[in-house]
């Protein structure tokens, strides 16, 4: 009996499947590009001329054609969805509001972050430890989630958020800073 050794598996960087299953995901084109760039040998193995010619399937031609059609439709749908999401992300703004509380105290409310798939609770905790004040996640009048940070930290918050967005690659998003003289009871 031969010793079982771990097989090292390459997972596609785009869809996280093993590359041979990329055609069943929604992003086949991008997967192929990624594979060509990163693992040319695998690309040759899977998509070269001979490989495609050799790939015999037990199904009849019609069923194969139908499967291909379905997959293409699914990919087109997924591409449209990804485009829409990207557009939404780029067009949305993050609003940083400073609200006056009692006398000299202020709170900062950050809204418009849900589109970016950021974990609100974790972010609030990071803010709280960073600025040494209280921070929490609440829902405001528009039923959207907001992070409320106590204290007058609006400038630093804006900097931090723009940095964070840059890291994620969404540099076009605007971070707006406004002030509100809301009198909170």
């Amino acid at each position: 009996m031969s010793e079982i050794e771990a097989k090292s598996v390459v997972y596609c960087g785009v869809c996280t499947f093993p590359p041979e299953y990329c055609e069943f995901g929604g992003s086949f084109k991008r997967c192929k590009e990624w594979l060509l760039e990163n693992h040319t040998e695998l690309f040759e193995q899977l998509y070269s001329e001979d490989a495609l010619a050799n790939a015999t399937s037990s199904l009849s031609l019609e069923t194969e054609a139908k499967i291909n059609q379905d997959l293409q439709k699914k990919q087109a749908k997924e591409e449209a969805k990804a485009e829409r999401e990207l557009k939404k992300k780029l067009s949305s703004k993050v609003i940083v509001k400073s609200i006056s509380r009692t006398k000299r105290k202020q709170v900062v409310a950050i809204s418009g972050l849900e589109v970016f798939e950021i974990d609100m609770k974790k972010l609030a905790k990071t803010f709280a430890s960073k600025f040494a004040t209280g921070a929490s996640v609440t829902k405001n009048a528009e039923k959207k989630e907001e992070i409320i940070i106590q204290g007058d930290v609006a400038d630093e918050v804006e900097e931090y958020i723009s940095k964070m967005l840059e890291e994620k690659g969404l540099t076009d998003v605007k971070v707006e800073q406004t002030e509100e003289k809301k009198i909170k009871k």
Binding site: I4, A6, F17, P18, S58, T63
Partner: protein, 180 residues
Amino acid sequence: MFKKFTKEDIHSRSNIKSSVQRQLKSKFAAQFPDIEAVIDDIVPKKSQAVLVKCEDKIQLYAVENEVVYFQQFDVLIPSLKIVHKYPTAFPRVQVDRGAIKFVLSGANIMCPGLTSKGAQLPEESLSTDTLVAVFAEGKEHALAIGKLIMSTDDIRSINKGIGIELLHYLGDGLWNLHLD
């Protein structure tokens, strides 16, 4: 099982005592005898295993933020990543190309999908409730992990109805779960 599974379905996380960890390892090795040689690679001896309790009485066991195996009631089931690494350690079943699309959306596997031309059933007969790794015609890596609802002999003879119940498949909630 993990069709609609997100981070929000996790209830709690706790470290596991090393005695319990050892018990789990031996249980896993007892279920899949071929894995005994490499079990120390999967779950290193001095590592801290974490028990993640989830919705529906599902328990995940993770080492260094990667789920290695999970269980619902009694049976320990390896995660797909482990099956990819050690494909020969698990009983292998193959489905034909037409079934891939359905398996990847979490459907159970019907008997005809296991007895048709592109499919392969193992030579030895496996009984009901055995865990099998599902492979696909023309593909090198496992597609999913399932439990046999009918024994392989029954699947071959009756050839009707559900053959394998799918527990974990490529791209499901567990596959996309990131524990941080």
